[in-house]
């Protein structure tokens, strides 16, 4: 698990450092003694199926749920004793929007600023630039319940930036948004990273993790299964090329693929062949017109499914 640490110089101190971090509820262990370090200016992702322990981990790092075991420090401060001080320097985007329905867009930002003890000219200027950043300047007088899902999410992100945080924590920032809204948010998050902020996000969209994260951990059942950059993870855990076939189950091709050293995975009527060399297989498929196939490079989703399995999570 020291792949990440090796990439950093000794002077870098982690923004978040967790050792043996554990959360046990009465009926289950949500987080099972995990270690991780998050370095400044980077985007770190927690990826995993529903119930993997991602949100619980985030809540612990913000001092919003007590640890059951292990140590956890943010900005070098132990979280349990200094949660309030730590949250002064953090912006939090929760999984479900919790904007204040009693206020307009602009009032939401101003009232939220007051919770950080911020007011006056400085806040007014910050609100202007944040409304501009999330493209809501012309909706500033709108009540929040008249905004679309994407707008509400953008406002929630702006709200999380009102205290000019060093660390921004996002719990599934684009879940439930349409592709346009999602791309806008990805763009804004990239800008935030470019401006030097540290980002910590959870997601179960592999595309999102691949685009945004410098480093990520794959979690399941409260454990970290793998850790590294998206590219490292793909290199370490799956073969570089994939052939996806429909209706190839039990055909001669399946046997051929197996003898060529392919790792095969079956899901419904689909067959996935993971291989280092797809060339010869594609040759063989040219004669079998009834078999439709897709040839693509392996991605994070393949790593994810390999490590967490393909069965449903409810």
């Amino acid at each position: 698990m020291d792949i990440a640490a090796g990439q950093h110089t000794a002077v870098d101190t982690p923004v978040i450092r967790a050792r043996g971090l554990t959360k046990a509820f009465a009926e289950r262990r949500a987080v099972n003694g995990i270690d991780f370090e998050i370095y400044p200016g980077r985007c770190f992702g927690f990826v995993g199926p529903n119930g993997a322990g991602k949100t619980t981990t985030l809540r612990m790092t913000m001092g919003l749920t007590p640890l059951s075991g292990g140590t956890l420090s943010v900005f070098g401060l132990p979280v349990m004793e200094h949660a309030s001080r730590i949250r002064c320097r953090v912006g939090i985007v929760p999984q479900a929007d919790n904007l204040d329905p009693d206020f307009t867009v602009e009032e939401n930002l101003r009232v939220y600023a007051s919770f950080f003890g911020l007011s006056g000219e400085q806040v007014t200027r910050r609100i202007e630039s944040l409304l501009d950043f999330v493209s809501l300047t012309d909706r500033r007088k709108a009540k929040t319940d008249t905004l679309s899902g994407g707008m509400q999410r953008r406002l929630t992100i702006a709200r999380a930036l009102i205290n000019a945080p060093e660390l921004v924590v996002l719990d599934e920032p684009t879940t439930g948004l349409d592709p346009q809204a999602r791309h806008v948010i990805w763009g804004r998050l990239s800008e935030l990273k470019a401006s030097g902020k540290t980002l910590l996000l959870t997601t179960h969209y592999m595309e999102e993790a691949e685009r945004l994260c410098d480093e990520l951990v794959i979690m399941d059942h409260g454990n970290i299964l793998a850790q590294g950059s998206p590219r490292d993870l793909i290199e370490q855990h799956v073969e570089p090329e994939v052939l996806e076939l429909r209706g190839a189950k039990g055909t001669a091709f399946e046997q051929l693929a197996e003898t060529r050293g392919c790792r095969l995975e079956r899901m419904g009527s689909s067959l996935y062949c993971y291989t280092k060399q797809a060339g010869p297989l594609i040759e063989a498929l040219k004669n079998q017109h009834e078999l439709k196939f897709i040839h693509r490079p392996a991605g994070l989703e393949d790593v994810f499914l390999r490590l967490t399995g393909r069965e449903l999570r409810d």
Binding site: F25, P66, N98, V111, F115, G117, N163
Partner: protein, 259 residues
């Protein structure tokens, strides 16, 4: 994180109070109508209607007796409503507390701010009734203005138990229990409509535990000039209710939200 840790009082609670007053300002007209309308109805209807038959009570006109009691009971119901329906709305369906907890504020600050706000609303209702009572000519003297800080304290005293109910509730129906079993009995039994001394002796002792009894004694003395022998005792009872219920509300809300 120790859920039983003593709460810290910090300036952040004022930001929570300010948030609520900003929302209240948007609904100013209906809020003021409620503040004046209900007590005016009680005073005119019961004070004049019932007062016609009753005449005097405890050496004062029934209207004065009732007005000075209603100030206390109205502070109770105002703070109880706000501490239950509004606090629960912000805590559970609206997730306002979740949003606030993502800032440096803690449960301690949120509930202190809510309690100040509940008491502020009690104060508004107290001022409204005092104004109506003055117009009806039953206010004794300028010393009646002292009832304003006392009404604020009464608000604090009832806000805490209401917030405890909010922390235990899983839906709004739960609050009916508290109203039927706690608020209404106090309203009927604690001396708002008749002197506590007319109750059977066993009950007289029992109502001494209830905070509204002490609240009514204070407001009746200040507004209608009734005799007041132990002001410190009554103030202390109200303060103890406020402080102890605040503490338990904080512990319960921590357990509810910080999981």
């Amino acid at each position: 994180m120790n859920f039983w840790r003593l709460p810290r009082l910090r300036a952040g609670s004022v930001a929570v109070w300010r948030r609520n007053i900003l929302v209240w300002r948007k609904l100013l007209i209906p809020a003021i109508l409620m503040n004046f309308g209900e007590p005016a109805l009680y005073l005119l209807g019961l004070g004049f209607g019932l007062g016609h038959f009753v005449g005097e009570m405890s050496g004062m006109s029934y209207l004065a007796f009732l007005a000075s009691g209603i100030i206390a009971s109205s502070a109770m119901t105002t703070a109880s409503f706000e501490g239950m329906y509004s606090v629960f709305t912000r805590m559970v369906p609206q997730k306002t507390y979740e949003a606030i907890l993502a800032t440096p504020l803690e449960v301690d600050d949120i509930l202190a701010g809510e309690m100040l706000w509940c008491a502020t609303k009690s104060l508004f209702s107290g001022v409204a009734i005092l104004a109506v009572a003055t117009l009806l000519g039953v206010v004794d003297s300028w010393q009646a203005l002292w009832v304003i800080p006392v009404v604020f304290l009464i608000g604090l005293c009832f806000a805490g138990p209401a917030m405890i109910m909010s922390s235990l509730a899983s839906n709004y129906d739960f609050f009916n229990y508290y109203f039927v079993l706690v608020v209404t009995p106090m309203f009927i039994l604690c001396g708002v409509f008749y002197p506590v001394e007319t109750l059977p002796e066993a009950m007289q002792g029992a109502v001494q535990i209830l905070p509204l009894t002490h609240a009514v004694i204070l407001t009746r003395a200040l507004v209608a000039g009734a005799e007041l022998t132990q002001p410190l005792l009554h103030l202390t009872v109200l303060m103890l209710y406020a402080v102890i219920s605040y503490y338990f509300a904080v512990v319960l809300v921590r357990r509810k939200l910080l999981v």
